[in-house]
């Protein structure tokens, strides 16, 4: 079936090899099936059907998008199920491949394997009926267009079916030739095509157009590979770091006082305002702990990341931003910073792989350390990452770095000077003999004021990667939650060994009243109590026992049940010996758990959600009674009844807000059995994953800083650039909105620059929960009737989502762009409907720039009434059936993040 053989000749320039000529052969064949299910002349159609790939249909027009459409509007093509019967030419896939658009190719494949879409990839480049050669002097882009049209022409001749080539206007101009018979093929621009066949998608189209307007490399067809490479190169050169100043210049600058020598990061200087160095470029390769020389820049409005904004974009550490000065780093050389030249181990998680597994990107646990690139196999250097990340090398599966508060000096234990336990430093555990996984230990000593009691829990959280979640118990075996090497050796607090621990230390007076509580990471040397020093232990244990008796008495309401073994069918029961010392340990652990719970709750004081719910409901004229579960349920039922037919989204939002609020109900923290107001699981991290979570929550508090991890893996892996989605306004803040996107369960903040909010954003009414936005002066809004737009809770908006570029392990999603959605709004502005398509309903989604309000915000189009939003409902319905619980969990996670943003940036 191979009828001919051609050769593709290409040239490739690479850093290492220079210019090379690549020759690949290609066999042209006749047996490529058309893929139309009704066609009987293509023999291979049968095998195509057998392989389970979707087939085209002749009842609908066959739509052939060319590479300009696919490369720029793939998001539109993929997300809209109504676009069916698409034919993706191999030419397009190869053009994408030449530009390394792997993700787009994957999206195309996803469409072409989705049975509902009835779309296919057509191997036109190897088919004798459609293959064409590049003509002399013809550009590759033009040849590709010709190839796509030749494929379309073949389709129209092969089977009586309407064939439409979809292209973009600017590319269409390039097509100067005539294809003879191929003129039977209709060539339409994408917007013409959508207007004729799918008018409902025009909104989406214009949103994508706007979002990609400033990304010329999104559309691969307009540029030649050479131009494209130049464009990439130009972008890349912008990313490069400025070179360090020479030592002489630095010395001169320091002498003159124009430069400062400081540690990097947010630089605190006594007596002078702090210096903030924002952005990767300004940081200029400096890492945490380096000593650097900085030049203080003039304070300008354009300085990135500065300003006392409510929702801080870049970094949440800018509390007193207005007092800070911007600076750029000009030197972090080794002469200035001996620390930067030395190697130090850093713990991290391998996050991404490059170059077929040869390159890995490790993301350190410590957010101050930049991502580290690791060579794993010998492979070609990835040139475009060359500048961005420091090199590292792989040491061990677990690389450990810790911040340890040294409670006491670590003891020296050598053969010549064996370590003798000191009565003042006794840390011991009391466990049955032969116990392997010991996760708790206790210390007790007398101080001048009274007592110091400590509970030390194995520090598992630093060793455990998040992928491993729980221990699995099967009938005959057990898969440990954490590997044995950790559970039984490294983490287990065994006698005579030095271990890391998470400690709670209380200072007590002589009446066992707690005067001070301390939390933190410690390094513990443990006493092998049973063997080495029983007499030393005894006094401690006696003190401990006394203390515990007092403490237990204090929570007197403990209820005990005793069962009569005779009434049960159990014939043989060997009860554990009820030694008092076990109860003492138990009591100490309960005490520690309670202390940790209280502490965590004090740092996450998110008890405002009921208020938010009540406030939001009131804005729509509903009253919510939160006095009891029953009252709340009745209030919600009332809302459901009233809004069932008019606004299901609002019901959904109200319910989800209520669910969130329920999670924080104070009663959740209490332990009735132990009669404690706050209780959590903290003391058994080896056995219980929940405890590790608690450790992680406690850790940043103990370390004195607040860092949060966002879990939006799904979002990040699916969407590289941006995504337009429907959202609902969940909260209105003084300088922005919190928008909830139900489809992805994401809540995000949209910051509205102060200059656009009316009168410096004073138009905030606590009762009405509304935010008015004035459109920028340069937007021709006079025919809109009004220059302002009002957002209120439960308003439907269109948002543009993208993943933020941050140093975090999982960059949080940013909800950046809004346009208003028509649905269910009664007080829409009276706006000229025709304006719709020319104005674009999104803000410019440019990275790193603050979202500037563009004409988009006018959104007349969305305000037209009576538009159906069926797709939105179907998504919602699916969503509510499938993953309500999971989504709430996600929301909870993100919500925590938001709270921290809010409270710290002073948004409220």
């Amino acid at each position: 079936m191979l009828v001919a053989r051609t050769e593709n000749i290409g040239f490739r320039r690479s850093k290492r090899r220079g210019m090379t000529k690549n020759v690949t052969e290609r066999y042209i064949r006749r047996d490529i099936p058309c893929g139309i299910s009704e066609c009987t002349s293509c023999v291979r159609n049968a095998s195509l059907r057998d392989s389970g790939l979707p087939m085209l249909t002749s009842t609908l027009p066959v739509v052939v998008p060319d590479s300009s459409v696919v490369s720029r509007y793939i998001e539109l093509l993929e997300s809209q199920d109504s676009l069916r019967n698409l034919v993706f030419c191999q030419t397009v896939i190869e053009a994408l491949d030449r530009r390394n658009r792997t993700r787009t190719i994957r999206n195309v494949r996803r469409i072409a394997t989705d049975a509902r879409r009835g779309s296919a990839v057509f191997a036109n480049e190897v088919f004798a009926g459609t293959q064409i050669d590049r003509m002399h002097g013809e550009s590759l882009a033009v040849r590709d267009m010709r190839a796509v049209r030749s494929a379309a022409a073949w389709f129209s001749q092969h089977y009586s079916v309407v064939v439409i080539v979809v292209t973009l206007r600017k590319v269409r101009k390039l097509a100067t030739w005539r294809l003879g018979a191929a003129d039977s093929v209709r060539v339409l621009d994408l917007d013409e095509f959508l207007a004729t066949y799918h008018p409902a998608l025009l909104d989406h189209y214009s949103a994508v157009t706007e979002a990609t307007a400033d990304k010329p490399d999104m559309d691969i067809s307009a540029l030649d590979p050479v131009e494209f490479a130049q464009l990439r190169l130009a972008n890349k050169s912008k990313q490069g770091y400025a070179s360090y100043w020479s030592p002489e210049e630095v010395a001169e600058g320091l002498r003159m006082g124009t430069l400062d020598k400081e540690p990097s990061g947010v630089i605190e200087r006594e007596g002078k305002p702090d210096i903030v160095v924002t952005g990767r470029l300004a940081l200029n390769r400096a890492a945490d702990g380096d000593t650097v020389v900085v030049r203080v820049l003039a304070m300008t409005e354009e300085t990135p990341g500065l300003g006392a904004d409510g929702i801080s974009e870049e970094d949440q550490d800018q509390d007193d931003a207005d007092e800070e000065m911007a600076a750029e780093l000009i030197d972090a050389g080794e002469e200035m910073a001996p620390a930067s030249g030395t190697e130090k181990p850093v713990s991290g998680v391998v996050w991404r792989m490059y170059a077929g597994g040869a390159q890995h990107l490790a993301v350190p646990v410590n957010a101050h350390v930049p991502k580290i690139r690791i060579h794993y196999m010998d492979a070609a250097v990835i040139s475009d990452l060359y500048f961005v990340y420091p090199h590292g090398h792989f040491i061990d599966v677990i690389l450990v770095e810790r911040q340890i508060a040294v409670l006491r000096e670590m003891p020296v234990d050598s053969p010549t000077a064996p370590w003798q336990p000191d009565a003042a430093e006794l840390i011991f555990s009391i466990d049955p003999k032969g116990s392997q996984d010991i996760d708790d230990a206790i210390s007790m000593r007398r101080t001048e004021q009274g007592f110091e009691m400590g509970v030390h829990i194995a520090d598992v959280s630093q060793f455990v990667a998040q992928a491993r979640g729980t221990t699995v118990y099967l009938a005959d075996r057990r898969f440990n939650m954490i590997p044995e090497v950790l559970s039984e050796r490294i983490c287990s607090l065994r006698g005579g060994a030095d271990r890391y621990a998470m400690s709670v230390v209380w200072q007590m007076d002589s009446n066992y009243n707690v005067t001070d509580t301390w939390f933190g990471r410690t390094a513990q040397a443990l006493l092998d109590g049973a063997v080495s020093a029983p007499e030393l232990l005894r006094s401690s244990i006696v003190e401990l026992t006394t203390a515990m008796r007092v403490l237990r008495e204090r929570r007197r309401t403990e209820v005990k049940f005793s069962f009569d073994p005779a009434t049960h069918a159990i014939t043989e029961l060997t009860p554990k010996a009820g030694l008092e010392i076990h109860r003492v340990i138990e009591e100490a652990m309960v005490f520690a758990n309670a202390a940790v719970a209280r502490r965590i709750h004090s740092v996450f004081p998110n008890s405002e959600r009921f208020e938010r719910l009540v406030k939001a409901a009131r804005s729509r004229g509903f009253d919510i009674d939160c006095s009891s579960n029953k009252a709340l349920a009745e209030s919600l039922a009332c809302i459901v009844k009233a809004a069932e037919s008019s606004d299901p989204d609002m019901i959904f939002m109200a319910k989800s807000m209520a669910t969130l609020a329920m999670q924080e109900a104070p009663a959740q923290f209490a332990h009735y059995g132990l009669a404690l107001e706050y209780y959590t699981h903290f003391t058994s991290p080896i056995r219980r994953y929940a405890d590790i979570v608690v450790h992680r929550q406690l850790d940043p508090m103990a370390a004195g800083s607040q860092k949060w991890l966002n879990r939006q893996k799904l979002f990040q892996s699916r969407y590289q650039e941006y995504l337009v989605a429907d959202g609902v306004v969940a909260e209105v803040r003084t300088n922005g909105l919190i928008v909830y996107v139900p489809k992805y369960g994401i809540r995000g903040a949209i910051k509205i620059p102060l200059s656009t909010a009316i009168d410096g954003c004073t138009d905030f009414e606590a009762e009405a929960d509304k935010l008015s936005v004035r459109l920028p002066i340069n937007v021709p809004v006079f025919h809109l009737g009004s220059a302002t737009m009002t957002f209120a809770v439960f308003d439907h908006v269109k948002v543009c989502l993208r993943v933020l570029e941050t140093r975090r392990r999982r960059p949080p999603a940013a909800v950046q762009t809004i346009g208003k959605q028509p649905a269910y709004r009664s007080n829409v502005l009276g706006i000229d409907k025709k304006l719709g398509n020319s104005l674009v309903p999104v803000w410019s989604a440019k990275k790193k720039e603050k979202p500037a309000l563009s004409p988009a915000a006018a959104i007349p189009d969305f305000c037209s009434k009576g538009k159906t939003t069926t797709e939105y409902y179907s998504v919602l319905a699916k969503f509510s059936q499938l993953s309500l619980l999971e989504t709430f969990a996600d929301v909870q996670q993100i919500e925590v993040d938001n709270t921290s943003t809010t409270s710290r940036a002073g948004l409220k």
């Binding site: 191979l2 053989r5 050769e7 490739r12 090899r17 090379t20 000529k21 690549n22 020759v23 690949t24 052969e25 290609r26 066999y27 042209i28 064949r29 095998s47 195509l48 392989s51 790939l53 191999q90 896939i93 190869e94 994408l96 491949d97 792997t102 190719i105 494949r109 072409a112 394997t113 990839v121 191997a123 480049e125 190897v126 077929g356 597994g357």
Partner: protein, 245 residues
């Protein structure tokens, strides 16, 4: 199609072949006048020239066994054979490996006992490289040995097989071969008896799939055998015409 897609869901490979198709093969015997036997062999874009000298008196008599001939293989890669022009040293381990495989294969097929105390030299020159070097070398050497009139028990036909996306594929080209995950199995068989003369694999393959891949490679060997046979017949016809028969 694309670099990531060695085998598309539609069943097409990067160069437009299906999984069980060989590349285009063309070959000719007696291309060099000075050599005792010679052959030129093309498989797709892989091009090999082989010259055979011998049997002739051994140079180093001490090394030659008294009852059979010594087979000596030298493999050379032209600097211009790849897209990047690079000169390889004679002691390059990859080259030595290929020549060792070829030598090993032919030692068992050439009837060396017919030529005691003599030496047979096989010089292989790779002119263009596009995957499947070893198979092309073995096929070309067979043709050249036949051309030289050296007695052999059978033809030796070699072919490669691979395994991409759960599918056995035949005759890997350079792109497919250089992908890390693709196992690359070279099989040389004696087509008359079906005996395996060489079985060599790079990378890893699940053991339960080995048989499938081998079956496919053996079927490839059989079609290569037909091509070689045609070339031998053509050369013989040519020769008989020249002799005026």
């Amino acid at each position: 199609m694309s670099r990531q897609e060695l085998l598309s869901p539609e069943g097409l490979r990067v160069d437009g072949r299906r999984a069980n198709e060989l590349r285009k093969i063309s070959c000719r015997a007696s291309v060099l006048d000075t050599a005792d036997g010679s052959a030129y062999f093309e498989q797709g874009n892989t091009k090999v020239l082989v010259a055979v000298y011998g049997p002739r008196e051994a140079r180093q008599k001490g090394l030659v066994p008294h009852d059979k001939a010594l087979v000596n293989v030298e493999f050379n890669v032209a600097p211009f054979s790849t897209s990047e022009r690079r000169k390889r040293s004679k002691s390059d381990k990859r080259l030595l490996e290929v020549s060792a495989f070829v030598k090993q294969t032919f030692e068992s097929v050439i009837q060396t006992h017919v030529y005691p105390r003599s030496q047979i030299n096989i010089y292989i020159q790779l002119l263009q490289h596009d995957g499947g070097t070893l198979e092309a070398c073995i096929n070309a050497a067979t043709l050249a040995l036949v051309d030289a009139g050296i007695s052999m028990t059978d033809y030796v036909c070699a072919c490669t097989g691979g395994f991409i996306d759960e599918t056995p594929v035949l005759d890997l080209n350079f792109v497919e071969e250089s992908s890390i995950e693709t196992p690359d199995l070279t099989v040389a068989i004696l087509p008359r008896t079906g005996k395996v003369a060489l079985l060599q694999m790079e990378s890893r393959l699940r053991s339960d799939k080995l048989e499938d891949v081998m079956d496919l490679a053996v079927s490839g060997c059989k079609s290569i055998h037909k091509k070689l046979d045609q070339a031998v017949m053509a050369a013989a016809t040519d020769l008989s015409e020249k002799l005026g028969h």
